[in-house]
């Protein structure tokens, strides 16, 4: 996964999540760990800025520090090295799937699958029924929300089962 200008990742950062074994992210408060999770959700098609802790979607673009000025756009590239796990059709013959999402400060967006332009909907369709879907997905447990599964309304828990069904 590659982050460029996403939240606190103004300098391009590339992270390799090993396929075999547990990858653990550590670091002090506020250093960017949950931002990486946000970038992952965003690349998978998250449409609600609130779920990414922002007021509007452009909040995910690096907004500048005392030393650096704000970025004009942000981009996240997500590479899956085992397409058969992700999608049952269409991309089986590719060795990898590369999902790209880009957002400019004027709110225009670009989306690509394997460098070919597509719509946000195509990215979301790609991940439908994999458990990775935004609100109903069970694959990403964000910070603070683990207890909520137990205390949530029964109708919300149904969504988790439905996504797996």
């Amino acid at each position: 996964m590659e982050l460029n200008g996403f939240k606190s990742f103004i300098d391009k950062v590339s992270i390799n999540f090993s396929e075999h074994g547990i990858t653990t992210l550590i670091g002090p408060n506020g250093c960017g760990k949950s931002n990486i999770v946000d970038a992952l959700r965003w690349a998978l098609g998250e449409q609600s800025s609130q779920h990414l802790r922002g007021k509007s979607m452009v909040d995910v673009i690096f907004s500048g520090t005392e030393q650096r000025s704000a970025a004009g756009f942000c981009e996240v590239n997500l590479t899956f090295s085992n397409p058969k796990n992700i999608s049952k059709f269409k991309y089986d013959d590719f060795p990898e799937i590369l999902v790209t999402r880009r957002l400019y400060r004027d709110s225009t967006s670009e989306y690509q699958i394997n460098k070919t332009s597509c719509r946000l909907l195509d990215i979301k369709d790609l991940f439908a029924d994999t458990g990775l879907g935004g609100k109903r997905g069970y694959s990403i447990i964000e910070q603070g929300s683990v207890g909520m599964i137990t205390t949530s309304k029964p109708s919300e828990r149904r969504f988790l089962i439905e996504e797996a069904a």
Partner: protein
């Protein structure tokens, strides 16, 4: 559709009934349908009972018990229909020493089937990691990621990375 949901519900419930006592070192739990007549829309409820206690309102459980119950449910769903990866952001924050140990053991046992990405502040959880990335902000407000080579270091050194 009704049948898909029913099939998933039963299978996940079976897993949940098995996983819960492993994480809690005892006790019992199950999923129930609020309205069995209306499979299409019914909500799903959780009955959870830590070892030795009586099942009552799930809201009365402690912070750590609620977190561990949710983890049991997520694991149960993964056992039925594994997703390509699973990201857990500080789910171990409310857990005590023994629960973290059982949580780590459970995650470790699923590594062949699921690619896990954990975020944690807890040294015990770091011990089961195969790969560690340290996220830092040497320059304020700018994140950077460093790969931490586990095989090359001893445990006290790993812990001191935190500071």
């Amino acid at each position: 559709s009704c049948e898909l949901f029913s099939k998933a519900f039963k299978a996940i419930n079976e897993q949940f009934e098995e996983v819960f006592p492993l994480l809690f070192n005892g006790g019992a739990a199950k999923l129930t349908l609020i309205d069995e007549q209306n499979i299409l829309e019914t909500g799903v409820d959780i009955m959870a009972c830590p070892p030795g206690k009586t099942t009552k309102n799930i809201n009365l459980l402690s912070g750590g018990e609620k977190a561990l119950t949710a983890i049991a449910l997520i694991v149960a769903i993964f056992l039925y229909k594994p997703s390509p990866f699973c990201v857990l952001d500080e789910v171990d924050a409310p857990l005590d020493v023994n629960n973290i140990r059982r949580f780590c053991k459970m995650i470790k046992s699923l590594t062949s089937r699921v690619q896990f990405i954990l975020i944690t502040h807890n040294p015990k959880t770091m011990e089961v990691a195969d790969y560690i990335y340290g996220v830092t902000m040497e320059e304020s407000g700018v994140s950077k990621v460093v790969s931490v080579d586990l095989k090359a270091m001893t445990l006290p050194k790993k812990i001191s990375i935190l500071r």
